[in-house]
């Protein structure tokens, strides 16, 4: 077994074991579940250092985690019986069975739905999902979300508290409940993916891993029989198209490369094909979600044909009717410049009036650059710098200013 496989086992068993402890054995206390898993890993670290890695490392970890949980219940029972006899805790009748892949899969699924609790705010859902579902360390999450350990710890702590206050983890969601929560689950996966794809952290491997984890969760959901598949397929297609460009995108010397600066030969053709496959699968039936539209836009971005920009423009128009966001409106304006005319795009851009958004001023500057109006370009780039708050964004804009002045 090589080092990579070993790290992989720890990462995947982290979320597997927490899911099983919580769902199968009914622990609502995620902290306790995490402590048990941490202890299990510590034991593995000591024992495997000396004795070598066992033949079946996963089975070893599962068995030890079960024993630790058993031990916890034994101690808790003594506490309950001898110290607080009147509050006699609910009779935990626990049958220890072999933890099979089937139990893990069911528990994982349950866990996704528990963690994507509509009562938790976006940020907490995201942190919790990265920690519990994807097995990222607090440091890694802090780096990915451009935050610090303390803040992430607090968020996770509060989120766990909300879940703990539920009497028990809902182990028997009806299929209606599953389906009604699916949108929220997809949104969390989408957020996880975006975090990996757009975060301005330099560390490529963390970013890539987050993207792959989001795709893994998407594929996992798509294999479950209880859900309507179209939305899930559309989200997977979207993630495939974006991921196909991730290597080309992160290959710049000074931060990420923009779409038009990327070396198209570095796009991953295999992922583009997969994306197309899932996009076709998602088109069965008459459901159109924002994932469908965004996936279709991403699809056209992989093409170099005449009708490309016109199609992208139409798709952005539809997307705006489903969900308005300033980013979509700005992207639509750029597509307008490519599909129709720059004059029309400049007119439309001025109508948006997003007065404190540096992306907006960058867009105006870009449109004037395409129009060969250098004075206006410089004017808007200067405005953009005023409102940019991240260091790397200011640097990018400065680069463009230098180019414009040449």
């Amino acid at each position: 077994m090589d080092d990579e496989q070993l790290s992989e086992i720890f990462k995947s068993e982290y979320s597997n074991l927490i899911a099983v402890l919580s769902n199968y054995y009914g622990l609502t206390d995620l902290q306790l579940a995490e402590d048990i898993v941490s202890d299990t890993f510590l034991k593995a670290m000591k024992s495997w250092s000396h004795k070598g890695i066992p033949k079946f490392p996963k089975a070893w970890l599962r068995k030890v985690a079960q024993n630790l949980l058993n031990e916890h219940h034994r101690r808790k029972k003594i506490y309950d019986e001898k110290i607080t006899p009147e509050i006699r805790a609910k009779n935990h009748q626990i049958n220890f069975i072999e933890i099979t892949d089937k139990i893990i899969e069911d528990s994982q699924l349950q866990m996704i739905f528990v963690l994507c609790d509509p009562d938790l705010n976006r940020e907490s859902q995201l942190c919790l999902a990265l920690r519990i579902l994807c097995g990222f360390s607090i440091e890694e999450i802090a780096r990915a979300l451009l935050s610090n350990k303390e803040t992430i710890n607090k968020k996770i702590y509060r989120a766990k508290k909300v879940i703990k206050e539920r009497d028990r983890i809902e182990t028997n969601l009806t299929s209606d409940q599953y389906i009604s929560r699916l949108d929220n689950v997809l949104r969390v996966i989408y957020l996880i993916f975006n975090e990996g794809y757009y975060s301005s952290v330099d560390e490529e491997n963390i970013r890539h891993e987050i993207c792959w984890e989001a795709m893994r969760l998407g594929l996992f959901l798509s294999e479950q029989k209880k859900f309507p598949k179209q939305k899930i397929y559309a989200l997977i297609a979207l993630m495939c198209f974006h991921t196909s460009r991730i290597d080309a995108r992160t290959s710049g010397e000074n931060g990420d490369l923009l779409y038009q600066e990327q070396d198209k030969r570095k796009w991953n053709k295999n992922l583009i094909q997969k994306g197309s496959k899932y996009l076709n699968l998602s088109a069965v039936g008459n459901v159109v979600t924002k994932y469908h539209l965004e996936a279709a836009i991403a699809y056209w971005h992989t093409k170099e044909t005449k009708e490309k920009w016109n199609n992208i423009l139409q798709l952005y128009n539809k997307l705006l009717t489903i969900e308005y966001s300033p980013i979509i409106a700005m992207n639509r304006t750029y597509a307008l410049a490519q599909a129709n005319s720059i004059d029309e795009a400049i007119q439309e851009a001025h109508k948006l009036e997003l007065k404190d958004n540096h992306h907006y001023f960058c867009l105006l500057a870009e449109l004037y650059r395409m129009h060969n109006n250098i004075n206006k370009e410089i004017e808007y780039l200067n405005k953009a710098i005023e409102f940019a708050n991240k260091k790397n964004e200011k640097e990018l804009i400065n680069d463009r200013l230098e180019k414009a002045r040449r």
Binding site: D3, L6, S7, F10, K11, Y14, S38, F41, L42, K43, A44, M45, K46, S47, W48, S49, H50, K51, G52, I53, G135, S137, E139, E140
Partner: protein
């Protein structure tokens, strides 16, 4: 060649939550070090890792929790090596991962009683 026992002393840290990478690095460090001794043909027995739980029976028959007065003195594991002298044996502990995490390595000779 004589046999020596290496005792690894370390301090338990209950707040240590290792990441997968840290665990992997620790396992690799130990295995690399042990294999280095094995490659010289001097690893007699890879020994065992010990947990941090323990009880002690005293002369008067009383039993106490924990085997130790001093936390830093806890034996976390042992193994047996063979060497020509105790000087050589203690040199083998160079590079032991216990040393880089604030622990220490104690080497003791194992007594041999011939003609028994």
């Amino acid at each position: 060649m004589k046999n020596f026992m290496m005792l690894f002393h370390s301090e338990p840290n209950p707040d240590f939550n290792p990441t997968p990478d840290q665990i992997q690095n620790e396992i690799k460090a130990w295995q690399d070090w042990m294999e280095g001794i094995g490659a010289q043909g001097k690893l007699k027995n890879p020994g065992e890792a010990l947990g941090f739980e323990g009880k002690t029976m005293h002369t008067d028959g009383s039993i106490t929790d924990g085997p130790y007065a001093e936390v830093k003195e806890i034996v976390g594991g042992f193994m047996i090596v063979s060497a020509d002298s105790i000087e050589e044996a203690i040199q083998l502990s160079n590079g032991c991962p216990a040393l880089s995490s604030g622990g220490k390595v104690e080497v003791r000779d194992i007594m041999v009683f011939d003609e028994m």
